[in-house]
Amino acid sequence: MHEFSLATSLVDLVLKHCPQDEELESITVEAGPMRGIDPQAMQWAWQAATDNTAITGSKVELIQQPWKLHCPDCHTDFVANDMFTNCSCGCQKTNPIDSDTLRLVRLTLKEPATLCT
């Protein structure tokens, strides 16, 4: 459901940017881990949300970003796969920053079929 609401918002944006006479192959979306997006659920949601639109049949490429963590002790930022990752300085109080990205970064159009006669 959660992915579906994002897919609906995405359809509006993509339709705005997609050239009318071209066929859309895929869109690329970058998502931070705070958003908790499941790639498979996103794909299904996209299929459902694009049904009966000019961009039906296209796919979503989801780029899942890692956590970005901040260390309050040594003031460094680093990336990790787990939100509760300790800093290499030993600090156990790292906190997540900038981990809620959600943006459309690219549209990929189908190459027009070359006709041989």
Binding site: H2, S5, V29, M34, R35, L107, T108, L109
Partner: protein, 218 residues
């Protein structure tokens, strides 16, 4: 062929949210977006809030609910200014639904607007409605791991309430662990313990009142 674009997916929502924010600010209404999982006690907190401070400040309510009008009916006992928004299949309120809800309220006659979002700890967090603050509501009955599993609301909220404290003796809930998780995800957020059905909500009422006091001085 690739067409590079960098655009926030929720841009359209955010644009409407800024319009809401301006409308609310112009009317002098302090607005909170109340977010919590199903049954965490959002409507009970509203009822208790009316009981506690309903005669001191004018509070309006927007309630998002999937299908029923039950929450609105409960709140209508306390408050004439309640507007129900049925989200149908949507698992969160969006700025446009709130926009329509605002049209049905007499904003000039309100000090505070509380938006009870759809019971869900994930989607509502990402949708700006035009509120001044997001409030996250957890409850003892849901288990002590919920902050760690739903970091987004913990990070985005200005105040977190842990409700149903009266149940603490009856359930396994590691309060220290919960507090540690919250502090690690968001060291700045204020975490307050309440019990809505017992009327023990003083820290929440104080927090709310402190914001309208500030607004009156500008």
């Amino acid at each position: 062929m690739d067409i590079p674009i960098i655009e926030n997916v929720l841009k359209l929502n955010d644009e409407v949210a800024s319009i809401n924010r301006k409308t609310l600010k112009d009317a002098g209404v302090y607005t909170v977006d109340l977010i919590g999982s199903p049954g965490s006690g959002k409507t009970s907190l509203l009822e208790a809030t009316f009981k506690a401070i309903g005669d001191k400040v004018r509070i309006g309510v927007l309630v998002g609910d999937l299908t029923t009008a039950r929450d609105a009916t409960r709140i209508a006992k306390w408050c004439p200014d309640v507007v129900q928004i049925n989200t149908g299949k949507g698992c969160h309120l969006d700025a446009n639904q709130v926009r329509q809800g605002l049209d049905r309220l007499k904003l000039d006659e309100l000090d505070i607007l509380i938006i009870e979002n759809v019971g869900n700890l994930i989607c509502p967090v990402g949708f700006d409605l035009g509120q001044d603050a997001k409030v996250g509501l957890f409850s003892i009955a849901e288990g002590d791991d919920k902050a760690a599993k739903h970091p987004y609301i913990v990070q985005e909220a200005q105040i977190l309430l842990l409700n149903k404290m009266d149940l603490l003796p009856h359930v396994t809930f590691d309060l220290e662990l919960f507090k540690e998780d919250v502090a690690r995800i968001n060291p700045k957020v204020s975490l307050q313990q309440v019990s809505a059905t017992q009327g023990l909500i003083a820290p929440w009422c104080d927090w709310l009142l402190s914001h309208i006091a500030q607004d009156c001085t500008v």
